[in-house]
Symmetry: none
Subunit: 411 residues, 2 copies
């Protein structure tokens, strides 16, 4: 009569505002979602401020909050979490950054912030790791490729800060500015100098790399520089298993989400063909979730394509992908003893093509849950549900209570 | 697709409890309000604890909270805010007080706490400003008339406290007690001594003033003393424009509301005939709002007569005035790109003739807002809305998010 295992399905950015392309319905309202609606009908619904009312969440801060790590306490920046997600072993005190391979033109201006959406940077990354030397700063570097044009960089060394500017001009046709410290702290100044040296050395290595010559010969943009942002110092994360007594896994395409999961001690399960877009290998991810649920108490399952459709302002694609998700998650309905929790990490309204603070719909379905009259999973209907309006940092305590794993406070 | 400007209409104390005179409906339920109901139907509704559940708000603390200045952090007392509202330039550290002109009888007992509701005290105030000297305390004074019998007093000087008693006995037939410090702090003792000297000197000036002799000859109560309360030290308010990136105005009859608006940097727009009662120049205020909305990003529009009717326990007058308001605000419906936010600052139930902590109804209507099934603006129906129950200090963050002016927290 009490669920024992937990599936936390975060449909990234699925929450929206009324879309004119959908007759002023939200994509969730417009989509045909028999499975999500059945979960709503059999569960308890509500709306949720993943951080706090009116606070526009990033994907990083919202996922930390949903896992019960309040970002005001645990968030430093996206860089170190991305670094963990690429497989860099970040220890507290190390400085991490997000990177893009990018293309500079002959005048040194950015001509493509994603280097022609280059897809395999393994050889370039290996050459940089082998060739760049920051020992004059007493810095050991780790540098790893992420998905597509993405990568992550980490510095280990004494007296390093993270309050530095980015060299990413964010627009084409502009030269990357040099890094500079954003404070008078010598630690930040040292990091800025080291970053400038890193990029100079990397550019020399990239300039002569055969993979780039090959790309140019095929008319593709070469990866001639590295744009670096999101620097922060890696924090110390109490481990999920110790915090909640639950073993757990994370299944996500996004490096960031895997990095957050890994930082708190969740097992990262890579899935072939998981892209973070609506062309992702959904059935492969669902298979992986089913497999993990056999061994683990808790699985965080992030599906990212909805967020991408929101950022692209494509309400129809968002609706259609929601219908694909709905169909793909059917197998979860028949797992005994499973608490199914479905929500978003934030809204990504197609009308603003970015995250918003509008509360997200939330449903919890499983043995012992109080069933409310809500029979549809969407932003408006869930507000009528039995959970009313809750905060993201309360989700894990609520989940632990529902599976009877919460500590009693008092006697 | 996203609203750009904000009208925050605060119908002061409009929120109520069931009124026997209205068949146990609230005045909002009993009133015929097609405009407010249309706003509810086209918007998203909820209920709001302007400070926190169960906390009975003052008008000062609730307005601070609704503007995003949590009163636990920013509220010192009503005096300094009233002082700002009368036009005194209060700087952080100055001590401000609310004052009434009042009448003492021959035995020195209060016979009228409002000096026969005297309406023009300009000459009396000028005489006091010219005649009172607190230089023996090292204190510079500012003293200004407010509406009717009201005034405000401010002290500037070193070593002044604000933790002092009031000389307002609150009832007729009692002598005003002398001021005394409410602590052992010499700063409070100095302020108490200075207030006693201020009142002694003011009484001498008032006793011989021709305006008072004239009033007596016409059978009107003379203003023979000043009752002083609400002392507090002026705080430092981060300015609204810097906090939210929004320029703004306030349109209100009440000195207090203008003082709060002015303290946070809103432009105060006086309106001829704005009385704070149900006889106010509503159309003039609406015209002023329409005009301000052309130039400003944000307008706070306070209508006070509903609160007065609640304090008077007059449910029928409250209902009738709500209907007047409903009609007067029609022009706001047709402004493109406007986010209309309607709420109360607190409940003022006719049954208790004072403020209560009952949550107030809230509606937000504008481009991009999620529409919920609520079609009526009242205390009960709004509780079924898509916002559920929110806190006053979250209102400005929610508003900024709705107009896409919120900062993203994280990435």
């Amino acid at each position: 009569m009490t669920a024992e295992k937990v599936l936390l399905l975060i449909i990234d950015g699925v929450s929206d505002r009324p879309c004119p392309d959908l007759g002023n319905l939200t994509p969730l309202q417009a989509a045909h979602t028999p499975v999500l609606d059945r979960i709503a009908a059999e569960g308890v619904c509500g709306i949720m401020d993943t951080i706090a009312p009116g606070i526009r969440p990033g994907s990083d801060t919202s996922h930390l909050s949903l896992l019960g790590y309040p970002p005001r306490e645990f968030y430093t920046a996206r860089g170190p979490l991305e670094a963990v997600g690429t497989g860099i072993r970040m220890e507290p005190g190390m400085i991490g950054f997000r990177c893009n391979y990018a293309t500079l033109d002959a005048a040194g201006k950015v001509s493509d912030r994603r280097a022609g959406r280059i897809s395999d940077t393994t050889d370039l990354t290996r050459a940089i790791v082998d060739g760049v030397d920051l020992s004059e700063f007493g810095i050991g570097i780790q540098f790893r490729s992420g998905a597509g044009h993405r990568a992550a960089l980490a510095f280990r060394g004494d007296g390093l800060g993270s309050d530095v500017s980015s060299n990413d001009p964010k627009h084409d046709g502009v030269s990357p500015p040099p890094f500079r410290a954003l404070s008078n702290n010598p630690a930040d100044q040292k990091t800025a100098l080291a970053l400038n040296s890193f990029v100079r050395q990397a550019e020399q290595i990239l300039a002569g790399h055969p993979l780039n010559r090959d790309r140019q010969s095929r008319g593709l943009a070469p990866a001639t520089t590295i744009l670096i942002r999101g620097g922060g110092e890696m924090g110390a994360f109490p481990q999920f298993k110790e915090r909640y007594g639950l073993s757990g896994s994370v299944i996500a395409a996004a490096t960031l989400i895997n990095g957050i999961g890994s930082s708190v001690g969740l097992r990262v399960v890579p899935v072939e063909g998981a892209t973070g877009s609506s062309n992702t290998n959904l059935s492969g991810k669902v298979e992986a979730v089913l497999s993990e649920l056999k061994a683990q108490d808790f699985v965080l399952f992030n599906i990212k394509g909805t967020d991408e459709a929101g950022h692209d302002g494509d309400a129809l694609r968002k609706r259609d992908f929601i219908e694909k998700i709905d169909s793909a998650i059917t197998p979860f309905l028949s797992i005994d003893g499973l608490l199914i929790v479905v929500c978003a990490d934030h809204s990504t309204p197609c009308s603003i093509r970015d995250h918003s603070a509008d509360p997200v719909p939330l449903v919890i379905r499983g043995d012992g849950v109080r069933t409310d009259p809500v029979r549809s999973f969407d932003e408006i209907t869930c507000a009528q549900g039995g959970l009313n309006r809750v905060t993201g940092s309360a989700l894990m305590p609520i989940i632990c209570d529902m599976i009877n794993r919460a500590e009693k406070y008092g006697a």
